[in-house]
Symmetry: C2
Subunit: 345 residues, 2 copies
């Protein structure tokens, strides 16, 4: 195979040295315009492209982000992470970054992978798609000075504002609040909520969105609200069972807001087409069966992740010092997608 052109080849053709070629690519301003044009022509003529590994070796940057591909991303809501992955890859492409995947069996294994990829100069930064209180992974990353951003707030007390922990999240409170408000706006008052058991950072946040909307506008008593608050582990079957159990008590239910599309589908199956049900995540399932749902703006999340990592326009991962002026986290607002369910389910 004829060897690919290098800076030297380009320089030879343009009649300049290798470094000048390098300058044309990396710091065009310091090159005299007419020289630059000659070099650019040579680059085009040869179809030259910088050798990524060589550059990485020299600069000690990889222009690559690492994301763990969650093994349990199955289930009805797994698609959210996949859509996020799409969004991140597109945004990263736009900035000249690559996305590299890896898998891990456990948090410890994942840390092992962090170490491996960091040491191999394989990646500049990591994106984590979920974290939990006292997550050993974020602690390790912080301790070892490896840049990272999480999609999802760290729900621990102190963590949330730790300036070393960058995060982007979707405002679940707002999403569920919007959904509830939307239903309240149709004149309905007995709106039930079907969510996950406590404690769950995300789950509790969403539940509060419903509760606070209801307290403000439903004019129901605390007791009545408690009765309308259902709890179930995620899953279609669980959701259906919970709703059937609630209805068996005779509590009036005019609509149901859910913490996920899985639960919402279960709820919809339990109540039929008469009672509005709103899910969360706007998964393909919701679309398929015509279920209203809260859509997470994953493009925005992805853009936010990269912005926290590299600044508004940068093409390099900021180190901690350079990141002084940049905000440490971002909360994006989801959007309610209203659908007519009657035609399908």
């Amino acid at each position: 195979m004829a060897h690919l052109p290098t800076v030297l080849d380009v320089g030879r053709i343009a009649g300049v040295s290798r470094q000048t070629v390098s300058n044309v690519i990396n710091t065009p301003d310091i090159v005299k315009p007419e020289t630059r044009e000659r070099v650019e022509a040579a680059i085009a003529q040869l179809g030259y492209r910088p050798h990524a590994s060589a550059r990485r070796l020299r600069t000690q940057k990889s222009s690559t982000l690492g994301i763990r591909l969650d093994p349990m991303a199955n289930g009805i809501s797994g698609a959210v992470l996949d859509r996020f992955l799409h969004a991140v890859t597109e945004q990263a492409d736009r900035r000249g970054l690559r996305v590299m995947l890896f898998t891990a069996d456990s948090p410890e294994d994942e840390i092992e992978q962090f170490a491996r990829m960091r040491d191999g100069a394989d990646v500049d930064a990591f994106i984590l798609t979920s974290t939990f209180y006292r997550d050993p992974r974020t602690e390790w990353l912080i301790a070892n000075g490896v840049p990272f951003v999480t999609f999802g707030r760290p729900w621990g007390i102190d963590d949330m504002n730790d300036p070393r922990h960058l995060w982007v999240d979707v405002d679940g409170w707002s999403g569920v609040h919007q959904a509830t408000e939307h239903l309240l706006g149709t004149g309905i008052r007995h709106i039930a909520y079907l969510g996950w058991p406590s404690p769950s950072g995300t789950g509790d946040d969403r539940r509060r969105g419903w509760r606070e909307a209801m307290v403000t506008r439903s004019h129901l008593s605390e007791l009545e609200l408690d009765a309308l608050a259902m709890v179930a582990e995620d899953g279609v079957g669980n959701g259906r069972a919970a709703v059937e159990a609630l209805r068996a008590t005779g509590t009036p239910v005019e609509a149901i807001v859910c913490a996920s599309d899985s639960l919402a589908l279960g709820a919809a199956l339990a109540v039929g087409a008469d009672i509005p049900v709103i899910g969360y995540d706007n998964t393909p399932v919701a679309e398929a069966v015509g279920l209203s749902s809260v859509e997470q703006p994953l493009d925005e999340v992805a853009a936010g992740v990269l912005e926290l990592l590299m600044g508004p326009t940068g093409a390099d991962v900021l180190d901690r010092d350079a990141a002084a002026g940049v905000p440490r986290h971002r909360l994006v607002t989801p959007r309610l997608v209203v659908r007519e369910r009657s035609t399908l389910l």
Copy 2:
């Protein structure tokens, strides 16, 4: 930041030269056992890991596979590609390979990306998740000697057995055949098929699976079979409409086999719980609503992809010559997952 250990550091501690350290890592057999142990101890002590970019620069291999993340992977069946991605990443990890993502707007753009990543020595090989007749991408890859494997057969006449085009695919014929056989086994004879419009390599293949099973065992006439063969673009609504149209004609229908879970969900919504419906892809939706479906063994597909690319156990992408004895393609058999739908839908 204290610099990471290099082969030189390891050698210094073990009292050997850098090359011996390299040998311990790459060709342990040629190193005297006691020396090897000393070096290994030093490696462990320092927590040394080879610098990936340096190695890549020298060896001109990246140990990385490129996969395009399909932008239109939405919809109910998009999950299949995502599960495939999981499987590939896991299998690749097992062989010490990484998976790198990229996006592209068009086949031309994708070729541009191929060129960029190949020239940058970013990836050793590509995995394509779908191809079509006279696909410019595979033609480019072949012409430029870039290794690749496709998930999905090239349906063109000559392409299928082109030894330069490696592929792995799932035997859709068999999947639908199994589904039809299963229904026939329950004593039912009027089994309809709901599939995509022709021509479609994959779609026509699946349709044949149904037809041939029916011809063999249903004892229905060609005319009756034609009447039971429905055509619809993919989508829940389309599926539902097609089934409703068929039933409106009065044609007796005792069961429906479908080319996708989307169509199957539409069919199920049209016929209710009385008539068995079998989908394809075994997506989360099928599981959620309790729909039988044909499951693609994506782990097997992923394993096959890597095997074609690197041989049964290799850790390096085979070049064309080294791949002499290795088979050029593999067809894996899907599996029917039978579910009781009545409880949910």
